[in-house]
Symmetry: C2
């Protein structure tokens, strides 16, 4: 709890935290974490994208524990930080209480899971999803060149840490649930079975800007009204085709120029669908494509569908890792845990195809996240750490 | 044409003009106009809200001609400027060619017709719609106090010009059509019969911001989706109840916080209806009110309807003024003019309840306005001025 509160102090604002990736306060907090990991006896460093990685010494195999310590622009104090500090706490306890000879615990805080500049940059870098040249030349979400961002952060001469699959017994990540299920059911621990995939679309509407008083309805090419009709239609379409746990969101809509007395000449919609089944997501993508093409053909406004290429794929958590987490939960919180899917993306989603990965969730009060008011009861935070420690202990003993 | 081009040079950007009310360039252009009116022999001044008014001397009665010389943020070169320069040209010709003894021509350029700070400020001030105290303490559209704005413009010690109804034979305003009718029908002059009324609504939606991945559909209080459904419903409602020339527009929509992965916690819509019949506008206002109350009662999101109090009322143009304009048009453009309603608001709308008012329109190329690309053929600009001059001549001879 002390370490969690110290990390919270980096960027603390009211009950929340503002510690977006690559900000000064984020970089400072990463140096603090580096010191803690070093003190714990790990060989720690900050890599070329800002990942903090502490590696156990004198062992050829290790279990990796981590999450991210960057936050949303107006973020909560536990989102990401919880899993990083669990890693620090469990590694420290393991070092202090006498570790097994051949197997260690590594700890990671990944960079920019929240996608301020590059979604899940740290874990994707670690998993080798791009070359140095591809990374440096890519454009960030904010519009600049990633190479410039890394130079400004003083990381341009630092090598990137890349996954050695031979080393790792597995990857464990703890996280707040960010949803209401655990609280509403009264369970204390969620053992994650899968992480949903995401399809992010942007739909552009090109019409003709005109005067809202003098342009008769039948002569309008109203991009705004076309966007409203399309948004309404997409919602109805998903209402029909959705599976039980599918979620879909129109998170943003913008009109240009966006004034009361002007018929909008342009508009755009952000549309997102999440589901644990990649096949279903592919089906929906096709359904959206056909719908937008149909609207484009039948309307005086031109529509353009963009499928963002950072779409996240649905993954299953490793069954053995799920079993270790479930047994630990049943031992420490008998009858008070549940299997669940994750509706949010996590670094574990990136790591899962490369390392046997598992996740546990602790309850979020009111299901609130990505908000200053995000919180978890202290007893739930502590129980979560004990469950993860128990799972780690079993994994190291069985597989070490 | 020279004067029109000189006025255009104040704030010229590409083919368009940026000369928003109270900007430095707007104030400079008003001083230029003041000089022109003074040279013409009128007693000209800039009043306490920035109106430029040139008054004929040595006469107890006068015909007022004017429009506005402020522009939209990205405006056209003729919107407003055309009618002001017609006034200057006709007054000058009248002074130079020997005027009637007892009757003169006054010229006005009203301030902020476009509503950068206060819609139709100049003509509303002239018509005595508010006291000094009410004006100074009112909030501008940009958020500041009007008193502060006027002080910054150096107008705080200048009296406001107030209409003397005994003086005026009538008010004439020429304007570009800002719509496609004249061009599409091939007519050169529109004689305005009425100006539509406007009802401006803002609808606010208050929901609960949440994570777009972890919040199941049935637990959402999605302000954005509620706004889309309401916008769609309003469009369908108006499609059914609209009269032949009713227009309705959703000119803007905003989600808060407006990110792909966040269920919007708030949203707002700008909704506008225009029609020439006040009774119909009152009916629609009631229809909108009932619809929003019904949605509010049946939805998990809270809706709030705001009817903006600067709503513009529909007015008829004075029949005698219409007749003078029609006769002048038939003389100079036989068979090439039409009666039409104005879908856009104009200063004449404010003046019409106080002075016998008339308006003529000249064609807008492509119907484009409130845009840098707004334009009118030079021969149409000149014909419009000749028609207005002929109408003025007849009014002065008959009524002077």
């Amino acid at each position: 709890m002390n370490d969690l509160n110290t990390l919270r102090s980096y960027g603390s604002v009211g009950n929340g935290v503002v510690r977006t990736a690559f900000s000064d306060i984020d970089m400072k907090s990463r140096h603090w974490l580096l010191d803690q990991l070093t003190t714990t006896g790990l060989k720690a460093s900050i890599d070329g994208v800002g990942n903090v990685i502490g590696k156990a010494q004198d062992c050829s195999r290790s279990l990796l524990i981590g999450s991210h310590s960057d936050t949303q622009p107006t973020g909560g104090w536990l989102d990401g930080a919880l899993g990083v500090i669990y890693g620090l706490e469990i590694a420290r306890t393991y070092q202090e209480t006498g570790r097994l000879a051949n197997v260690g615990i590594d700890v990671a805080s990944w960079m920019d899971e929240e996608g301020t500049y590059f979604s899940s940059l740290g874990s994707r870098s670690f998993c080798g999803e791009f070359t140095d040249a591809e990374l440096l030349d890519s454009r960030s979400i904010q519009g600049g060149r990633m190479g410039d961002l890394l130079r400004q952060a003083g990381l341009d001469d630092t090598p990137r840490a890349i996954l050695d699959p031979e080393r790792y017994l597995g990857y464990l990540e703890a996280h707040i649930e960010q949803g209401p299920f655990l609280e509403q059911t009264g369970y204390k621990i969620g053992v994650v079975t899968s992480i949903v995939g995401v399809r992010d679309f942007v739909i552009h509407f090109h019409g003709c800007q005109n005067h809202a008083g003098t342009t008769p309805m039948d002569l309008r090419q109203d991009a705004g009204m076309a966007a409203i009709h399309a948004a309404y239609g997409l919602d109805r379409m998903l209402s029909k085709s959705a599976r039980e746990k599918t979620v879909w969101t129109i998170g943003d809509i913008k009109f240009h120029p966006g004034a009361a007395s002007i018929v909008p000449g342009g508009a755009r919609i952000s549309f997102q669908v999440r589901d644990a089944d990649e096949g279903f997501l592919d089906f929906v993508t096709q359904e959206v494509r056909v719908y937008i093409e149909k609207l484009d053909a039948s309307s005086k406004v031109t529509l353009e569908l963009e499928l963002l290429d950072d779409s996240v794929h649905a993954v299953e958590m490793n069954q053995r890792m799920q079993d270790y987490c479930a047994r630990a939960a049943e031992r420490l919180a008998p009858g008070e845990w549940m299997n669940m899917q994750s509706g949010a993306a996590h670094d574990a989603q990136v790591l899962a195809p490369n390392i046997a990965s598992g996740m546990i969730f602790v309850p979020s009060i009111g299901g609130i996240s990505h908000d200053f008011n995000e919180d978890t009861a202290e007893e739930d935070i502590i129980l979560g750490c004990q469950v993860m420690a128990a799972a780690v202990e079993a994994i190291l003993q069985d597989e070490g």
